[in-house]
Every structure is written in structure tokens, then in C-alpha cells.
Amino acid sequence: MIDSTAGKNTNKTLKSFNDILPVEEKTRRLNAQLKKRHRKEMRFQMYGVISLLLGFLFLVVFFNSIISKGYTAFQQTFISLDIEFVEDIVDPKGNRDAKEMLRSDYSKLIKDALKKEFPSVKKRKDRKALNKLISSGAVYKLADLVIESPELIGTTQTLWLASDDEIDLLMKGHIDRNLPESERRVKDNSITWVDELVAQDRVVKRFNHTFFNSGDSREPEQAGIMGAIKGSFYVLLVTILLSFPIGLAAAVYLEEFAPKNRITDVIEVNINNLAAVPSIVYGLLGLAVFINFFGLPRSAAVVGGLVLSLRTLPTIIIASRAAIKAVPPSIRSAALGVGASEMQTVYHHVLPAALPGILTGTIIGMAQALGETAPLLMIGMVAFIVDIPQSAMDPATALPVQIYLWADSPERAFVEKTSAAIMVLLAFLTVMNLFAVYLRKRYERRW
């Protein structure tokens, strides 16, 4: 109802604004208010800058600590020795049979070479310490060499052999020479020998291929990350093959086709709940269902992938639904209006428009899965596995679990491996996230 008295009080003279608030006073108040506002805005900006700086500072500290601890792992110390391939040791029967030659005692060759290099070392105990300069894995290199080219037998070769992990640490400066001998892992005589070798240019630090090409090992200088990388690869492969199509199909169905009723409400709530379930619970579920009930192999990447699919499914569904919901309804009407069926509308218009968001969500889900550790512990992917897995059914471990294993190892040399493995994991995560950003930028659409 319109107030019939409205507009009827015009004959009563009203005070002008100037009478209530003179111009000078108004200007003064305006200025005061303006100053206050400026101060407020400045403060607000400052908070933003400070929190950004803090975040950046933490990042710098974090990276600095990891990189400074870990970068040395990308190098390895090698010692050159004149190895004489004595036939009596390498191939006592003289028939050049590879299988038999594999069993020969190559450590004897190394011991002899060291003996020749340091003739003054006589005592049994010192000899033992001397032999420890070279990695126990060096014998495999010699065996491989001889089996590949048997003509080496009887000759003397100058070969670069990996040093023991403690000599490696010494060369990298991780061992303090000024400490009293009793508190040092590398004793005085070893240091003297190494220094002598260095003086003869018989010690170098080279790029550490072993770290990138080998599986795990009890010996730090032979331990590598390839087994974990491949394990993570198979886990992620299984995860994406399962969770992407299932998650996408679920999202499309729920968003576009499902009737809105009690059941879909319950499903919706439960999907959101699943995203919040602690991941170790998924590990227990995987152990109970996939290993104990379905009898899949323990420690296998396929089980890890199955478990992590369950883990990433809610992430992918939620992200995909959000992306689908963000497609403007006008596009749907446009397609329906020219006679596209609902199916065609979804496949021709809604999904392409939602794809960047869906892919971003998927990649973020995958990055989460790559960093996931707890559920993998539950299904036995924490076992010590030397062999590099060749398929998803082989026993394997994953990058974050490898980090956990190395961080738990007592040898000092695993510290740098741990940090290096973290760097590798971060590198993969960074690449994945950059890819997500790229996708978002590349396919971003303006309406």
C-alpha cells in the first residue's frame, strides 16, 4: 500500500544541509575519515605483505635445509686402482664360463691392488681397514666387466671404483677431521691413505649415477632411488587408470543426470566424508580387502594403486563436480536449444568447458597420492626391496616410503640420501603442479 500522506509535508520548510553541518566542518570530517581509511588500508596491505614474507621465509629455510643437506648425494667419490685380473682368481678352471666367473672372489683383486698401492701396511687389522676404503659393491662392477670382455683376464687395468660410504662422507667434508679419533667413524690411518691417494690424483667426485639407477641397498653408496621411482610410477599409473574414469563418470552422473533426492544427498555427504577420512584407514581397508580377501600380493604396487584410488576418488569427484557446476547454464540451454540431447550437451559442451578444472583436480589428487605414505605402510610397501620392480605386481616401495626408510636408517650416509630423495619427490610434485597450472592457463575460457 502506498502511504497517502507521503509528499504532503513539502510546505514545511526543512533545514538545509549547511545548517546541520557547515561546509568547513564537513570538509574537516571528510578528511579525517579519509585519513582513517587510508591508515586502515595501509595496515591491511602490511598484514598481507608480512604473511607473504613469512611464508616465503619458511620456504627458503625449508629448501635451504634440504638442499644443503642433500645436494652432495648427487655426487659420489671414486678411487682409482690398478686392478690385475689374475686368471687363477677370476677363472681358475680357464673355461671362461660366465656363471662360474660370477662366483669368483673379486674382492681378492681389490685387496691385492690396495696391497700393492700401500706396501707398508702390514698389520692384519690395518689391512682390514685399508680394504674398507672401497665399496663392497665394487666387486660386481669387476665381475660385470670381466664377463663382458673376458680378454681383460691377465691384464692390469686402472679402474675407478666407488669408495665406501664413509670415505665418501670424508671427501664431501661431512666428517670433521679435528675431532678426536675415538669420536670419528673414519680413523687416522684411513685418512692418511685417502690423503695419499688424493695427492696422486686417484680420488675424484663424479655425478652419482648409482643414486638414480639403482634400487635400495643396505650399503648407502649402492643405494638408489630408481626402485622407489618406479614403484611410485606403477602406483600412480594404477591410481589414475582407476580413479580418473570412475571419478569423472561419478561426477558427471551426479551433476548432470542423477535425480535430486534423499539417496543422492546421502551419496553427496558420504563423498565429502570420504575425502576427510585419515589415509591410514584406507591402508587398513586395502589390507583387509585387497590382500586378505582378494589375495593380491603383499607389497605390490597394484594394491598401493587400488588403495590410493580410493583415496583420490573423492578429490577427483569433488573437483570435477565443481568444474562442471561452474559451466554457465546458458551454454547448456544453447546446446539444448538447437536440439542437442542431454548426453550431447554434456559431451560436446559441458565436459570440454569443465576439462581444465577436472584435470587440475585430478593432477592435484595425483600429487596427493604421490606424497601419500601411511596407507602404503599398511599394505607392506615398506619392505626392504632391492630389485627394481618390473611391473605393478612386483614387490615395490614408493618415494615417500623410501624417504621414511632412509630417514630411519642409522648410517650417517643415508642423511644426504634422504634429503636427495625429498628433492626428487619435490621435483616430481613441482612438475605435476606446474602442469596443472599450465592446463588451467591454456584452456581457461572467458564467457
Binding site: S333, A334, L336, G339, A340, E342, R446
Partner: protein, 268 residues
């Protein structure tokens, strides 16, 4: 509160000879709320019929019934008889997909697909399988853009995105997209309300030309526009069809008191 008002029967010439579409006893509900009350209306061939009325009176709702766009709204229920030529469009035998190729729609806000201009126009013919080969498709696209008065402006950039055009061009692109499936009827829901006066004038001229080949139903909130482009005008009020007459008669000598109040600006 005004309680029940008796709106009575629609005044004017509801029926025409040999209509393109005919509607009898249309009722539309959104959940429990009735948006259209018992509407009868014939839509004549090769004519522009304008629907006017205060906002919320059900013009868009009625328009969307004519090509079953209301099917996509879950809570919307439609009853009554809607015929296109001799076919009852709500009968079970009718599939909405070919129906929408016969009754196209242009929306208020231009909504080209985020695809090239060519693909926008080619989309309809493609999904309906109208063109046998690229040559035929090219011809349909060019012809549709020409009818929509857009071809000369975009012929050098057919493969650039349709969303990069100006608002008026986008709307003509949407019209071309609708024409490209060769509809008999084109529904337009306030097609100019998001456009500037020059773009509006272009679209109005276009509507006049399109009348030769198509039957057009246009919803508009501008009475001048209704007067300029249409031959018949239907006035809706609170979900009731109050009056249908020749446009000239509606604007010079309305039969119903409500129509007169509306066109003289007493409410709106």
C-alpha cells in the same frame, strides 16, 4: 491484498486460419505454483507474434513450452495441447531432439559456444546429420550467416572464436545458429534486452526479413519493439492471456482494460 480476480476469457482474435502452432488449455506449474492459467492461442504462419506483459507474468514460461525447453526444469509441469502443424509436441511419439530442430530458440543473453564462428553455426546441422559433406555444410553455414545479416562482417574470420564478437554480433550469431537447422518457428526471449540501440535496430530489421521464411514468436518488454516488429500481439497478465489482437489494434485501441493500463504505462 487482492484476492481472486476473474480474468475471464481472452479477448480478441485468439484463433487464426491454418495456424503453424496452436495451443489449447495450456497450464504450467512450477512445483505447486501455477505460472500459466488455461491459455488458448494460435500462432499464424510467417508472422511475428509479440508477447508482452509485466515481468513475471509468464511470457518466458509460455515461450519455453513451445519447444519443450521446460522439460529441462525439474519442477516444471506442463499440461494442455500444443500442436506444431498437425503434431502434438507433447505426445509420447515426439522426440524433443527433432522438435527443437523445427522450433528453434534464441535467448535473452547471447550465448555462443566457446568455439569458432563456423563451428557455432555448424553445430546444429552436424548433430542432426543435415549435411552430407563439407561442401553442403559450408553452404548451410554461409547461408545461415547471410540470413542473420552477419556474413559480411565475419567472412574473413569464420574460424575465430564466436565469443570474441560484439554483443549484437553474438546475438546474430545465435540467430544464425538457430536458422542453420532450418526451423519452422523461431522463439525469441527478449533477444535485444542485453544490446545497445544500434544492435537492437539491426536485430529488429533482421526479424522483419526473417518473417518471410519463418514464423517468429518474440517476447519483449519494450512495447515500441513489439509495435515495430510484430503483426500480432498477445498481452499476458499474472499467467493469464488477457488479449490477443493485431498489433496495431492492441496499441491504438486495446479491448481489455488491463491491456490499456499496461500500454499506457500505468503499471509494468
Amino acid at each position: 491484498m487482492q484476492d481472486k480476480i476473474e480474468y475471464g476469457k481472452t479477448v480478441g482474435d485468439v484463433f487464426v486460419e491454418n495456424p503453424r502452432m496452436s495451443v489449447r488449455g495450456a497450464n504450467v506449474y512450477y512445483a505447486d505454483k501455477q505460472a500459466i492459467h488455461d491459455v488458448d492461442l494460435d500462432i499464424a504462419k510467417n508472422q511475428v507474434i509479440a508477447m508482452i506483459g509485466p515481468s513475471g507474468c509468464g511470457k518466458s514460461t509460455f515461450l519455453r513450452c513451445l519447444n519443450r525447453m521446460n522439460d529441462t526444469i525439474d519442477i516444471c509441469r506442463v499440461s494442455g495441447e500444443f500442436k506444431l502443424d498437425q503434431d502434438n509436441i507433447y505426445s509420447k511419439e515426439i522426440d524433443v531432439v527433432p522438435l527443437r530442430a523445427r522450433v528453434g530458440i534464441v535467448f535473452q543473453k547471447p550465448n555462443p559456444f566457446p568455439k569458432s564462428i563456423y563451428d557455432n553455426v555448424a553445430y546444429g546441422p552436424r548433430i542432426h546429420g543435415l549435411a552430407k559433406n563439407k561442401v553442403e555444410l559450408d553452404e548451410i553455414v554461409e547461408n545461415s550467416l547471410q540470413k542473420a545479416g552477419l556474413f559480411d562482417e565475419v567472412k574473413d574470420r569464420l574460424h575465430e572464436s564466436g565469443t570474441g564478437l560484439s554483443g549484437g554480433q553474438q546475438q546474430r550469431l545465435c540467430i544464425a545458429r538457430t536458422i542453420a537447422v532450418g526451423p519452422e518457428v523461431i522463439l525469441m526471449d527478449e533477444p535485444c534486452s542485453a544490446l545497445d540501440p544500434i544492435a537492437t535496430a539491426k536485430i529488429e530489421n533482421l526479424i522483419d526479413e526473417l518473417r518471410e521464411n519463418f514464423t517468429i514468436v518474440i517476447v519483449t518488454h519494450s512495447m515500441q519493439q513489439a509495435a515495430r516488429v510484430s503483426q500480432r500481439t498477445a498481452y499476458f497478465h499474472m499467467g493469464h492471456l488477457i488479449e490477443v489482437n493485431d498489433t496495431e489494434k492492441v496499441f491504438t485501441n486495446p479491448e481489455h482494460k488491463l491491456t490499456e493500463d499496461y500500454i499506457t504505462g500505468r503499471f509494468g
